[in-house]
């Protein structure tokens, strides 16, 4: 297990290094110089040069990459070009919106999907199964931002139960925060719940074909008892993997939903920074999201290997 962990950790580090290089250079080769963009088209060349020096843009690219990457490791993401505040501060503020939204959506998706998947597997081929599977078919086909608009139309505009957008702010208390994140979380959770329900169902169906399930029935347990006692436990491993992967997806997928609900999260930060050519903010947020995905994958791999020793041997 230690050998496996070390090996995976090494590949994690390489992935992060390559990812940071890619992100930095893709963004740096993009047309448009931040300094001349900030000063407008009438700026004098020497003013632009002075601002470039002030922002540290006159240093060779590779040195800037090293400084940026080194700063990242210590939690110092550099200074925003436009706001002149530490990027880490800006990201931290926005994370307090995006992270709860992702967690909320993940909780909702799990709460909907697991019972639905178990129910469908238990009633395999019957009306209940067909109904759940049709619903998931619809769920994966609905664009989440469209679903979000429909939720706003019904629950905010027609029924006036929720606000149509905006974020309450943490100073208003947890209840207000949850209230303002409810519609966004539902719209974000729906397609994920549909996928997860399908995974739950097929994982459970796979387990039901196992010999030990027949043995459990033979020793006198009812179908329901075998399902809960032996089936569910074994089926949960692939399901947990998907839940882990969905978290990072939800964090990134929130970007579009934040646009629909005017939420001040990471998504809006990225869009604002892109239009202001605040490259260092864009680089840092994208890197943070990639970091989250890679680390979650790593954790999922380790958890998987801890449960299933066969996987350790294979890689």
């Amino acid at each position: 297990m230690i050998r496996y962990t070390l090996k995976r950790f090494l590949s994690l580090c390489i992935s992060l290094a390559v990812a940071s290089l890619l992100i930095f250079f893709v963004i740096e080769i993009a047309p448009g110089d931040p300094a001349s963009f900030m000063l407008g088209i009438n700026a004098q060349p020497d003013t632009v040069a002075a601002l470039r020096a002030e922002l540290g843009l006159d240093v060779p690219k590779f040195e800037r990459y090293l400084a940026w990457a080194q700063g990242m490791l210590t939690g110092d993401f550099g200074m925003s070009y436009t706001y002149r505040t530490p990027v880490s501060q800006m990201v931290a503020d926005r994370l307090w919106v995006s992270l709860p939204l992702a967690l909320f959506a993940l909780a909702l998706s799990t709460l909907i999907a697991l019972p639905a998947g178990i129910y469908a597997a238990a009633r395999r081929g019957k009306t209940g199964d067909v109904a759940v599977m049709s619903a998931t078919q619809l769920g994966v086909a609905i664009p989440n931002f469209w679903f979000a608009m429909m939720l706003v139309l019904i629950f905010a505009i027609k029924l006036r139960w929720f606000a149509g957008g905006g974020f309450a702010g943490w100073n208003k208390g947890l209840g207000a925060v949850i209230w303002s994140l409810t519609l966004p979380a539902i719209s974000l959770a729906l397609p994920q719940a549909a996928i997860l329900a399908r995974v739950m169902r097929s994982a459970l169906l796979d387990v039901m074909n196992e010999d030990f399930m027949r043995t459990a029935r033979a020793k006198g347990l009812t179908t329901t008892q075998t399902l809960w006692k032996h089936g569910l436990r074994n089926a949960l491993i692939p399901v947990l993997t998907i839940i882990g992967l969905q978290f990072s997806f939800l964090l990134a997928g929130g970007i579009i939903i934040e646009q629909v609900f005017y939420l001040p999260g990471l998504g809006r930060l990225v869009f604002q920074a892109i239009s202001a050519r605040d490259l260092i903010v864009v680089e840092s947020v994208v890197m943070l999201l990639v970091f989250a995905v890679i680390v979650v994958n790593f954790a999922v791999d380790l958890a998987y290997a801890a449960v299933d020793p066969r996987l350790r041997a294979r890689t």
């Binding site: 469209w146 608009m149 097929s202 990134a252 579009i256 990225v270 869009f271 890679i294």
Partner: protein, 271 residues
């Protein structure tokens, strides 16, 4: 033919026909504005109503189908064009540094949140259909590479491959002549799924203003325009939404149906 396949074929054909028909005929000119006739609900002249500029929504949906399908189609083409050779190569050199390199690169692309990167690419290199295609296409490459490699590896162990080797064929020829035809079924199914994901991605990019630019209509863009008007004219948001759902669901059902149809052994549900 099974039920999924038939329903899927009907729904996807509907979208493709609408797109093809739009080249020769639409009920109205899709860019012609007619302010006095703005925001009409569906009626006999304007079957799906009109938008805030008085443009005919039915015509816009038809032309929008063209945009969505074209973007998704080319993006799948990029994924297959690069992913399949890479996957075949990796499988032919299983365990070698080539295999390792291709698969690690795949893992790396998978680690990037696709939507974020697509947004980044289109935002930096300019919004538009071509950049949207590239942004979506890049993330299709590892999908196809992985599917091909996974399916090709067991085939390499079969006797007929050994026979082909004895006959003097090299790895590249075996890959194309013997491996590829045997993994084609899987590829068709995967292509259908990626096609539907591509349509969703195109809609999302257009919705945030990074896909096809006006006046080219696209379903995502129509939804973005509808957002501020949704309370007074809900049909502006409902109709493009239904268009997306019907097309995506059609393609997904077709993918499910094709998989069962092409491979009778796998009758278990897709995850």
């Amino acid at each position: 033919m099974n039920r999924n396949l038939i329903i899927g074929l009907i729904l996807s054909t509907l979208a493709i026909l609408a797109a093809l028909l739009s080249f020769i005929w639409t009920p109205f000119d899709h860019v012609a504005m007619n302010i006095p006739a703005k925001l009409q609900t569906p009626n006999l002249t304007h079957w799906f109503g009109t938008d805030h500029f008085g443009r005919d929504i039915f015509s816009m949906i038809m032309v929008g189908a063209r945009t969505s399908i074209a973007v998704a189609f080319v993006a799948v083409g990029i994924g297959m064009g690069l992913g399949i050779p890479l996957g075949l190569w990796a499988a032919a050199r299983k365990g070698s540094y080539v295999d390792e390199l291709i698969m690690r690169a795949n893992d790396l692309i998978f680690a990037f949140p696709s939507l974020v990167i697509a947004i980044l690419i289109t935002a930096i290199f300019g919004a538009g259909a071509v950049n949207a295609i590239i942004a979506i296409g890049i993330f299709n490459i590892p999908v196809f590479a992985r599917v091909v490699r996974g399916a090709a590896m067991p085939i390499w162990e079969r006797e007929f491959i050994l026979a082909a080797r004895v006959a003097g064929k090299n790895a590249a020829r075996i890959s194309v002549e013997h491996i590829l035809p045997n993994v084609l079924n899987l590829l068709i199914v995967q292509a259908t799924i990626q096609f539907s994901l591509g349509i969703l991605a195109e809609a999302a990019l257009s919705y945030v203003g990074l896909g096809a630019q006006p006046p080219t209509p696209s379903w995502g863009r129509m939804l973005a325009d509808a957002q501020t008007l949704v309370s007074i004219a809900p049909h502006l948001a409902l109709i493009p939404g239904f268009a997306i759902i019907i097309t995506v669901m059609g393609l997904n059902l077709m993918g499910d149906g094709l998989r069962d149809y092409l491979n009778p052994r796998t009758r278990v549900a897709r995850t």
